[in-house]
């Protein structure tokens, strides 16, 4: 057993923290929230130069060949700082499934572009049915000649408006179970028939409605096997859920740090409010939730990284971290008092993200039900 990060991981963490502190101040975060694109192409280029987009892409596709655990370290820092933009959708929802199931040709074509910061990706999984389960996939793909024709509406698709490729999860067959008959396609986002609109969300994180109307996709762009795509989705969801948890623990730690600092400097009744036991108890409970979130996240990330079966552990981690992040940011606002409730205050940036992240890849109700099933209930 070894519960420490490697020296390389610690270095990655420090350099990421320094870089983001300098390059992505909260003024930029707010500016990007309000911008149309939602990301900064200059910052994106610098991240590519640091090798971040290619972190988990093997050397032979121009990446750095590191592991999912390393990626989690980077994501934790991104969550801590809040980094708007398509890193998550490109790397976690794009590169990882291509690495898992892509043909050699697909890998050669797309992975070097991702590593070089030249391609933005996303995955179109959820629909107006608003579930992460296979039963929610209704978008149809029908074979015609050397292509498939896609029809349907996808919802809550991050960054589709700026994407070069959309990995679209479709139904190609009505099988005996909802998991049967799912097929994934790598779709050129400029294909005729794709209509994309950004929907207003609490975290202004550029989620889109994407309508596919008779979109023709060449057969060679199928990702993985025909009708047997669900295990790939499930695997990607496990990775994405833990990647999200990594971001969330970073954000929760930042919210805690801000609140502790404020409690030490804000004076009422002649002493810092952090000297009052009521405030101390809030803060110690916050500390506990953050610390426990980190420990459970690292364990589940490690299991994903090692390729171990981890359905229950991932659901345990996400369910816990959901509640913890919401709790910590809510107490954070409370300790800050009125100023914490304003649009201008940084605590709100984290509060809004805590609630957005809670819903993404399964909220607590969803995760508890997964755990219940895994327990044999």
């Amino acid at each position: 057993m070894n519960l420490d990060f490697t020296e390389e991981q610690e270095m990655l963490r420090t350099s990421a923290r320094d870089f983001l502190t300098t390059e992505c101040p909260k003024t930029l975060v707010r500016e990007l929230e309000e911008s149309e694109k939602g990301y900064s192409p200059e910052l994106w280029k610098k991240m590519a130069e640091l090798g971040w987009m290619g972190l988990v892409i093997p050397d032979k596709y121009d990446g750095m060949g590191m592991q999912f655990m390393d990626l989690a370290v980077l994501l934790e820092e991104m969550g801590r700082n809040i980094l708007p933009g398509p890193f998550f959708s490109t790397v976690v929802l794009g590169a990882l499934p291509i690495l898992s199931a892509g043909s050699e040709e697909q890998k050669k074509e797309i992975l070097p572009k991702i590593a070089g910061g030249k391609a933005i990706l996303t995955m179109a999984l959820t629909e107006p049915s608003a579930t992460y389960e296979a039963s929610g996939v209704h978008t149809k793909a029908v074979a015609r000649g050397n292509s498939f024709i896609l029809n349907g509406t996808k919802l809550f698709v991050e960054n589709a408006h700026i994407a070069d490729y959309i990995i679209c999860v479709t139904r190609t067959k009505d099988g005996a179970s909802p998991e049967e008959g799912i097929t994934l396609f790598l779709v050129d986002a400029k294909s005729p028939g794709i209509k994309c609109a950004v929907i207003p969300t609490i975290a202004l994180d550029k989620q889109c409605e994407v309508v596919f109307e008779n979109v023709s996709v060449p057969k060679k762009n199928m990702l993985g096997e025909l009708d047997k795509g669900w295990p790939l989705v499930a695997r990607t969801l496990e990775q994405a859920t833990m990647a999200k948890c990594a971001e969330m623990i970073g954000g929760a730690q930042a919210a805690l740090d801000m609140t502790v600092a404020y409690a030490k400097e804000r004076v009422q009744y002649g002493r810092p409010i952090g000297a009052f036991q009521a405030i101390q108890f809030y803060l110690s409970d916050m500390w506990m939730k953050v610390t426990m979130s980190k420990n459970i996240t690292y364990e589940a990330v490690w299991m994903v990284s090692e390729g171990l079966p981890c359905t229950e552990k991932v659901a345990i981690a996400k369910g816990w971290v959901n509640d913890a992040y919401k709790f910590v940011t809510e107490r954070g606002v409370q300790v800050h008092g009125a100023i914490g409730t304003t649009r201008d205050h940084d605590m709100g940036l984290y509060y809004r993200r805590a609630w957005a992240a809670d819903q993404t890849f399964g909220n607590t109700d969803f995760q508890r039900e997964v755990v219940a099933r895994q327990m044999g209930l």
């Binding site: 057993m1 519960l3 502790v260 000297a275 108890f281 803060l283 610390t291 219940a372 209930l377």
Partner: protein
């Protein structure tokens, strides 16, 4: 990071598990209940000593096994899971033994350590007093020099197992003029000494674990003082040296949860298994989450100790969370059982032997013992987050 245990550690876990499966049977636990000694068995403690597991992490020169903290963690996790009785050795192994090793004289080591490692001598702890609970340093029990002895007079309270113990390690004031932390000394007292009266304090489930201990001019030889005169407060801080993960709380909860899962699968309400009820599912899943999260912070505590670090903040956090979890879990168990949840041991109608209600009422004390959970939160705030003292 690597969350896997080494192969020999896994083998050790299997060996402990096999032993506990054989020893800590349903009949054995019911036998303890019948004697009113839920967490106390001298025989079981001796068996652990014979296996060499009692003082497994003590240094070899003092009769220990020289095991690592991770091995101790594994052992404690299994002991917790089987809900095995540890009352007859907990004080000796975790508190008094390490204190004597750190601060005792050669004579004290020779005289006391073997009895602890052999599981033959039971210790109790004379710290709390009627007016010194969380604020322990305000204790008033007095020790006055007379020739080669001290005469100790005062009252101790919440003394677990005082009625069963052979020896007591206690704190008494030797300098009433000094600032409160600097006038306390640490004594080893034979419980058979004249002048000691033990009176039972019966807890909510009518069990006798706690006691009041009255000391009336109890004569204690000077050689039974551990460390220097008036240094007792600092000597007592070594009691933090044992394995501190509190892994036994989540692992015991895990066993209890498994029992509940079986119960809801087998039990029907309105023709439907309870396991199909969404509220029941949600509650039990929530407990599975909390148990797992607790296990990981306990592992972190042991890992820090394994590396020679002091888990100043993580250890109190684990205790705080684990004790509150035990309350929640057993409370949820009672809620799920409905009317049956109120049944006591001994009723033929009681699900899971009636252990749920009993454990629930016991669990209240764990949030108070070993430093109340409010003190734990103070420690997190002040030591962990650097907040000013209230």
């Amino acid at each position: 990071m690597d969350f896997r245990f080494a192969e020999e550690e896994e083998r050790f876990r299997e060996e402990v598990r096999a032993f506990l499966k054989k020893e800590v049977t349903e009949e054995f636990l019911m036998g303890l209940e019948d004697r009113g000694e839920l967490d106390f068995s001298r025989e079981f403690t001796k068996k652990l000593a014979e296996k060499g597991w009692l003082a497994m992490a003590w240094p070899k020169e003092y009769g220990g096994g020289g095991a690592t903290m991770m091995e101790q963690l594994i052992f404690n996790e299994e002991i917790g899971y089987f809900q095995a009785p540890t009352g007859a050795h907990r004080q000796g192994i975790n508190l008094i033994g390490p204190t004597i090793i750190a601060h005792g004289t050669e004579e004290q080591k020779r005289r006391h350590l073997r009895g602890i490692t052999a599981g033959e001598v039971v210790w109790c702890q004379g710290f709390s007093e009627p007016n010194a609970g969380s604020d322990l340093a305000s204790l008033q029990c007095r020790a006055v020099e007379e020739g080669d002895d001290y005469l100790i007079t005062g009252q101790k309270v919440w003394t677990t197992n005082a009625h069963r113990a052979d020896w007591c390690h206690l704190l008494a004031r030797t300098d009433p003029e000094a600032p409160k932390h600097r006038g306390i000394s640490y004594f080893l007292v034979d419980m058979k000494s004249p002048g000691i009266t033990v009176r039972p304090l019966i807890n909510m489930v009518a069990a006798h674990d706690f006691n009041e201990v009255f000391l009336d001019n109890v004569r204690v030889p000077k050689e039974n003082m551990v460390g220097d005169k008036n240094q007792g407060w600092y000597v007592s801080q070594v009691t933090l040296a044992g394995e501190r993960s509190q892994i036994g709380l989540p692992s015991s909860c895990k066993r209890t949860l498994e029992g509940l899962v079986e119960y809801v699968k087998e039990t029907k309400r309105n023709g439907e298994p309870l396991a199909h009820n969404p509220i029941v599912r949600r509650k039990l899943a929530e407990m599975a989450v909390e148990i797992e999260v607790n296990r990981m912070i306990a592992y972190r505590v042991a890992w820090m100790q394994h590396k020679g670090l002091i888990p100043m903040v993580a250890a109190p956090a684990s205790k705080l969370f684990g004790s509150e979890l035990l309350q929640r879990l057993t409370g949820i168990g009672m809620e799920i059982m409905g009317l049956y949840g109120q049944l006591e041991l001994g009723s033929k109608w009681a699900p899971l032997r009636g252990a749920m209600a009993r454990m629930h009422m016991y669990s209240l004390g764990i949030a108070i013992a070993m430093g109340t959970n409010e003190i734990m939160r103070n420690i997190l705030a002040i030591r962990g987050l650097g907040l000013p003292r209230a």
